[in-house]
Structure formats: structure tokens, C-alpha cells
Amino acid sequence: MIFLTIGTHEPFDRLIRAVDQWCARSGRGSDILGQITDRATYQPEHFRAVAALDPQTYRKTCEEASLIISHAGMGSIITAMTYGKPIVVLPRRGHLNETRNDHQHATAERFGGRRGVYVALTEDDLPNVLDEVLANADASPTETTPQDALLSPFADPNLIAALRDFIQQK
């Protein structure tokens, strides 16, 4: 199963449409579940979509997915890294009013080099990135799904220590 998630707050029609068009061509639509918010104006024709998933179902869906397709939101990226799932991200853009600024573009550039995190900078790049990641996953699943590089469930111990220090100063 491939899980498409566009985040909690804002619609992201550009990604939904790009995935829908990719499904029309690749025939992968029946593998996909999309979470598209209740403000999506584009309704996909080739895959099943829901507005929202409760947090537990969201987590379970990520766990069961073989691939996550997402906006370049840190919640999605951290969740994918926690479960060792490959994630393909398309950053929201400020000039398209998909977010207030281009922070997702910066996120995509910063995290794009990490194992298991794949970036499509534009919707035109998305089909190729998806085809490539899926082809690699079939050829070498451990490389694409970094089960040996699972993110620890908690923050950098240095950050935790700094917060503990702060709590103890009175």
C-alpha cells in the first residue's frame, strides 16, 4: 500500500492531481490511500481518498505502507523516518500560496540527501521520482526502506539535557 498524506492543516491540490495523473498512467491507483483534507478542491479519480485520519489510524497506515508520498512537512518526514519507510516529498511553495513562505522547499533541500527521503521539487518531477523509488524498492528493498536506520523515538539527548537543566534552575 502507498500512503499519500498532505498534512493536517492546508489543502494541497497540486500534489493530489500529480499523483492522480501518475496513477492514470502507472495503474497503481488501487494501491493508494490518500489523506487530502476537507478543503481539497481536486478530487482524485484513480485512488481512494479520505479527508482526515485520526492519529492512531494515521500511524497504523504509515506502519503498513510500503511507500509514503507527502508534502515536505516535518511531521510526515519524521513519521516516515521513525517507521523506516521511504518517503517521496513535493514541497509546498510560497508563491503558489500553498504555505506562507518557502520553508518546505528548504526542508526538501536539507532532508533530500538522507537515506529513504526522496524529493520531487516540482509536480513534473514527481512521476519519475515515484517510478525510480518503486523500481529500486523492488530491486533492493533494504536500501530503500532503511529499517536499520530507524529514527529513535526521542529528541537528541543534548536537547533533552538542555531542557532538563532549564527545568532544574529555579
Binding site: T8, H9, M74, I78, A155, D156
Partner: protein, 160 residues
């Protein structure tokens, strides 16, 4: 014996909340309450606490709003004010966004010490609320070392 430090950890649903939960081990020994905009996140907070060996924190729902939603923002102010008055936290910690910013400002007003941890999503510049929160935060942090400056924010590591 002194009473445990009362900590209010607050963040909007989604990525902000995911980051907040990753800080859980820091609140060991504290009287912790967690607030967010989706009631269903109570269980996520409880599970993160359990994984860190902490008891399940009490959870409070606050209305999500941004600065362009004045009516919703008013409800957020009401929710957060009530939480401040009833819980009277010693420390307010947030990873954003707007409800966390409000909680930090109100926490300061009632004498709480405040922590702003700017979201790891802001890799090129601090968020707008993060810049506004700075002067009111006792601990003002960025998660990117290259955004640290002499006058703040400081870098102490990230949620990853």
C-alpha cells in the same frame, strides 16, 4: 520535599505536536500537562509519555487558530487563559504555532518560565511566531545550528 515543577507542553496538531512528543524524556519528575488542538492526540501524548517511562499526562484541547482568524483566535485565548488560571504552570514549553505562542506570552504574564523551540521545519529562517516569541522566552531555541546568533536564538540540538 518541594512539589514537582508544573510543566505545560503545548503545540498545534501535526508536525508541531510530533516534535513536542519527542521531548517527553525532558519532563521526567515534572507535573506535566499537554495541550493541542485535536482531542484525539491525548492518546498519542499518553503513548509517548509511556515510552519515556512517564505517567500519562492530563490533556487539554485548545482551538487551533492563526493570526488571520480573529474569531478562532479569541477562542484560543479563552482556552489558554483558562488553562493558565487553573493549572498555573511553572514552565510553558512550545514547538509552535499560534496557540503555543499565545500560551508562552500568557505564561510569562503569570510568572511562568518559558521555552520556545522553533520548529525544525524552519531551516532557513526562524518562523514569524518564533521571531516574535524570542523576547518573551527564557529559553529561545532553534533546531538549526546555522540560525543560532549571539543575542539568540540558541542551538542545543534538534528533535531528531
Amino acid at each position: 520535599m518541594t512539589r514537582p515543577t508544573k510543566v505545560l507542553a503545548i503545540a498545534s496538531a501535526g508536525g508541531h505536536f510530533v516534535q513536542l512528543c519527542r521531548l517527553m524524556p525532558a519532563w521526567e519528575g515534572c507535573d506535566l500537562r499537554v495541550a493541542s488542538s485535536d482531542r484525539a492526540l491525548e492518546r498519542e501524548a499518553a503513548e509517548a509519555a509511556q515510552a519515556a517511562g512517564l505517567p500519562a499526562p492530563r490533556f487539554h484541547q485548545v482551538t487551533e487558530a492563526n493570526r488571520w482568524q480573529p474569531v478562532r483566535l479569541f477562542r484560543t485565548v479563552f482556552n489558554v487563559t483558562r488553562l493558565m488560571v487553573t493549572f498555573r504552570p511553572d514552565v510553558v514549553v512550545t514547538t509552535g504555532a499560534a496557540p503555543g505562542y499565545l500560551a508562552l506570552r500568557m505564561g510569562r504574564l503569570i510568572g511562568a518560565r518559558t521555552i520556545w523551540i522553533d520548529s525544525i521545519a524552519n531551516a532557513e529562517q526562524l518562523s514569524l511566531s518564533g521571531r516574535k516569541a524570542g523576547p518573551h522566552a527564557d529559553l529561545w531555541l532553534t533546531q538549526w545550528s546555522h540560525l543560532e546568533t549571539e543575542s539568540g536564538p540558541k542551538y542545543k540540538g534538534s528533535v531528531l
